[in-house]
Symmetry: C2
């Protein structure tokens, strides 16, 4: 998928919502626990209920790894289900990987060849050779951490460099030349919405993946105000606020309603 196709989907659905599949076996409705693959069944129900309102799913890989090889199977099945039934919807593996070249090759193979997601989140700390293997796959994306939504992002991401830039600004500035607007996007937390204006000066045309709306307290209006460009340029993620909106047998229906509500707000913001 390239950025033009992604923007096309946004216009078609009037939504720039990304639903985060942070599926925790301890939080899914009790009646599903006895199923053979409860994580996959939960995801399938959530996906079917929300697909009309979203342009992207973002499984959070940690939640699957926490179940061992069984969790990897649930993740793989989930990705295949979305890919087959909703081929237009982007899938981002939220994995925050990053290693030296020959190891990053392996991570790219894991997510792009074995699993066929569209994008993987990556940590920039180790530099360019961490990212490059992901950029060699046609139609696939690297999503680089820039300024994250957690409190501790202040520990290192917002350190001042000797050039008077923040570290996260340097990360964006430098990495932007490694790829292009069709294979590279950035994670910018919604809890730092006002920073989006500064980031747009560095990368006016790149897509930004924005977590932190919903459970973490970021504002969708602020994100759109500071971060939107003339081709939307935003994927705004909501995980817990949608997928755990109800823990009863109606969980999928309620998740769908929540997703629709967010989609309607997004439709207005798209103008």
């Amino acid at each position: 998928m390239n950025s033009e196709e992604l923007y096309g989907n946004i216009l078609k659905k009037r939504s720039f919502l990304c639903v985060g599949l942070d599926t925790d076996i301890q939080k899914i409705p009790q009646h599903m626990i006895s199923y053979e693959d409860p994580i996959f069944e939960f995801n399938r129900a959530i996906v079917d209920a929300t697909a009309k309102f979203t342009v992207c799913y973002k499984p959070n890989v940690a939640f699957y790894e926490a179940e061992g090889s069984r969790g990897w199977k649930s993740l793989t099945k989930t990705v295949k289900y979305i890919r087959d039934k909703y081929p237009d919807i982007m899938i981002i593996a939220d994995a925050k990987r990053g290693d030296i070249g020959n190891t990053s090759d392996m991570y790219a193979r894991a997510f792009f060849s074995m699993m066929d997601v569209d994008a993987v989140t990556l940590s920039p700390y180790m530099g360019r050779d961490t990212v490059e293997p992901f950029l060699t796959y046609e139609g696939k994306w690297a999503v680089l951490l820039a300024l994250t939504s957690n409190k501790s992002s202040e520990d290192f991401e917002t350190l001042r460099l000797d050039t008077d830039r923040y570290l996260f600004e340097k990360v964006i500035e430098k990495s932007a030349s490694w790829g292009n607007t069709d294979n590279l996007m950035y994670v910018v937390g919604a809890t730092k919405a006002e920073m989006l204006a500064d980031i747009r000066k560095i990368v006016p045309d790149h897509f930004l993946l924005v977590p932190g709306v919903g459970a973490q307290g970021g504002s969708l209006q602020e994100v759109a105000k500071y971060g939107m460009n003339d081709k939307c340029g935003l994927l705004v993620n909501s995980s817990r606020a949608i997928i755990y909106a109800s823990d009863g047998v109606d969980f999928a229906k309620v998740a769908g309603e929540r997703a629709r509500k967010v989609q309607q707000e997004m439709s207005e913001l798209l103008g």
Copy 2:
């Protein structure tokens, strides 16, 4: 395992070698491919041949993920095999994870509860809440990336801050207060051996995990000269140079000989 026990093992074996299990299905001897779980069988043979000479194994998680859920099974079996047969040997999952608190909880669960390794490598970019969940497990370690052995480490790790410190120095300085010498160590690449002296000024007592000796060209003598402290304080990793020393049916025997050679050099350096 605490640092005293690790040092005890180093003295007993006269070795501070960590053998990296970067097991690539495309590089293991041809005669193993038809086995039911060739990756595990390769690892088992390597482990049995090298266990006398090493205090640590470091499976590189990317290589297992690249085989999907089957790879996670091979990894889990490998960890269990080492744990059961060689309980004194430390196991580091080289995973370079790092995410916000509730997600890092899940990664910690994946590696410490589901898999029972002793340590996990982590990327510091997102700050303290990335690391903390790993420090709450008794006897377990977080191994934080500081200065890595790849060329691109110059992109960000060695940026100068407004305080005239390098970013990696700030990472070490700040994070050292999050844990202690029994649950926190740092990755410092052997290709930057002379930097070890400066790092020792910041963390004189912490263990350092040093990759980059062998295939990547770092020098064991230099690493020991600049990085060793009075309780050794070093785990030096070698992966490809040991496990792929031969691709014939004698691969394990040759790997064992290589490991023994490194152990003998280490014994001399331990004095």
